[in-house]
């Protein structure tokens, strides 16, 4: 592995959060949380392309099918950005402190996990990108990252405490299941669609592999029979962040 550095303006003492690659037009979008903006990098030239303003506390970023969603943790909103024109198409209201996000292109909806505040419980929300469709469900703990399955029928969400994987059907957020994880602090999450395997990075120092596809085939409608396999990756106390799968 070799490494180069790509400069981002106004980055001294800053903080970044999630980033996402959009294959068409091969751009990387990054939440520049401390500067309330969205950074755009051209992945072919490896150059910073643009700084888009107006994303208060930008945190979660996800991309797909030419669209980029940005969860504005400081603004209680989610922005829908065109990956090619870089124009904001719409801004949707969310619950307090939206964080994890997913895009469901086939349903034209956004999934956003809201941390909540003193008066609002943590909540998972599904928001129509057009029209006025909206579904939500209260969560049993602080949400982190979320992903959807290959068929875009099911959403999986990491919950920090109690450490678990939360699953629900899209878009109604029904058929909910909680899968306790064998490591504290479920945090980053990604999914291998081809193998139907979920990976959850936990702050407790483990990467947990979960066979995700079995949940819908569960015969008794309760706990699914699924395989869970932990890998120890760091000592307890490390902070595991969103992870990426190649393959």
């Amino acid at each position: 592995v070799t490494a180069d550095t790509i400069g981002i303006p106004n980055s001294l003492g800053t903080s970044f959060d999630h980033g996402a690659f959009e294959p068409d037009p091969r751009r990387v979008f990054n939440a520049h949380t401390a500067r309330n903006c969205l950074e755009v990098v051209d992945a072919d030239t490896n150059r910073h392309l643009a700084t888009l303003q107006g994303f208060p506390g930008a945190a979660g970023v996800v991309a797909g099918k030419g669209s980029v969603l940005v969860a504005n943790r400081g603004g209680g909103s989610m922005a829908w950005v065109d990956a090619r024109t870089l124009e904001t198409r719409t801004v949707l209201n969310t619950g307090p402190r939206p964080n994890g996000a997913a895009i469901v292109s086939s349903l034209q909806v956004a999934v956003v996990a809201c941390i909540g505040d003193d008066t609002h419980a943590p909540q998972l929300q599904v928001l129509g990108l057009e029209g006025d469709r909206r579904w939500s469900v209260d969560l049993p703990g602080r949400p982190r990252w979320c992903v959807v399955d290959a068929k875009e029928e099911r959403v999986f969400l990491a919950i920090r405490n109690p450490s678990m994987e939360f699953a629900a059907n899209l878009p109604e957020l029904n058929a909910i299941q909680h899968w306790p994880l064998p490591s504290d602090g479920a945090h980053g999450m990604d999914i291998n669609h081809a193998a139907d395997l979920l990976y959850v990075a936990c702050d407790g120092g483990s990467l947990v592999e979960v066979m995700s596809g079995l949940d819908k085939r569960s015969a008794n409608g309760r706990s699914p029979v699924f395989r869970m396999r932990p890998f120890i990756i760091r000592q307890v106390g490390s902070c595991m962040s969103p992870l990426k799968i190649r393959g």
Binding site: A3, D4, I6, S11, N30, L243
Partner: protein, 57 residues
């Protein structure tokens, strides 16, 4: 599977088939990434004032 670890700042890459893993030192505070197809990993690193582009990831 690439996992960004904020403190002390590294990318740990796990091969689920074998359970083996490798590490690449980044910088403290580098906690998020983006996978750039087919084989590059962008690591967002405040201390490096931008993006660390790992080729061959």
């Amino acid at each position: 599977v690439h996992v960004a670890i904020e403190d002390p700042g590294l990318i740990q890459t796990v091969d689920p088939l074998t359970g083996s893993s490798t590490q690449f030192i980044t910088a403290k505070g580098a906690k998020t990434t983006a996978l750039v197809e087919p084989d590059r990993l962008y690591v967002f690193s405040p201390l490096q004032k931008g993006v660390l582009d790992l080729k061959g990831a």
